[in-house]
């Protein structure tokens, strides 16, 4: 399983766009990139997933570099509710499909 590296923390003001980077230099061809977030007192929640290029949904967008070694989660117009720990996870979408969590990125949103 590929390891991921994320910044431990980030800060932003409400209304700003936030970009959270994730390095996964050893990603295998069978592996996908998933982003989850966790707010206090709750379990992690799925945000977005991708394999290559660019993915967008109603919550966020995900850009994946051409060599797939770097991905960036983009959150437009963050609010106080977006304050959370954001986890980048790389795993093969087959078999037992285990999620292996790193330490994540703590996003602080300021009013």
């Amino acid at each position: 399983l590929a390891k991921t590296t994320q910044p431990p923390s980030m800060e932003a003001y409400e209304g700003q766009e936030v970009n959270v980077s994730c390095s996964h230099t050893n990603i295998a061809t069978s592996e996908y990139i998933y982003w989850y977030r966790q707010v206090p007192h709750q379990g992690p929640q799925f945000i977005i997933q991708g394999y290559k290029d660019y993915v967008v949904n109603e919550v966020a967008s995900l850009f994946i570099s051409a060599d797939r070694k770097l991905s960036t989660l983009s959150l437009p117009w963050v609010s106080l509710r977006d304050a959370a720990v954001y986890y980048c996870i790389v795993t093969a979408s087959s078999g037992s499909w285990q999620l292996i969590f790193g330490s994540g990125t703590q996003l602080t949103v300021m009013p």
């Binding site: 007192h41 709750q42 999620l99 790193g102």
Partner: protein, 111 residues
């Protein structure tokens, strides 16, 4: 609404005590997981199961047993609880793909 429900929400036990954490999912998922989360760490996988009667070992299984009695129910057993097992425990279910749902957690304190 499909969900993962954990009980109890909070538990205090003494060292050497016997504890059972319960998890029920109504997602009709085959896979269920138990994670623990400690300060400074992401979630770490203890045990998982891909069906009733099945049990697989995760990354930090020592001191834990688990049992999957039905597709819906997955239990985590601490037969001789130790202070090192004080943690926040999360249960999750998945379809083996990207549909992964976490419970709200059980906070365990071993004194």
């Amino acid at each position: 609404e499909a969900a993962v429900t954990q009980s109890p929400r909070n538990k205090v036990t003494v060292t050497g005590g016997n504890v059972t954490l319960s998890c029920r999912q109504t997602n009709s998922h085959n896979y269920m997981y138990w994670y623990r989360q400690d300060t400074g760490h992401g979630l770490r996988l203890i045990h998982y199961s891909y069906g009733a009667g099945n049990l697989q070992i995760g990354d930090v299984p020592d001191g834990y047993k688990a049992t999957r009695t039905t597709q819906e129910d997955f239990f985590l057993l601490l037969e001789l609880a130790s202070p090192s097992q004080t943690s926040l425990y999360f249960c999750a279910s998945s379809d083996g793909g990207s549909d992964y749902t976490f419970g709200s957690g059980t906070r365990l304190l071993v004194i």
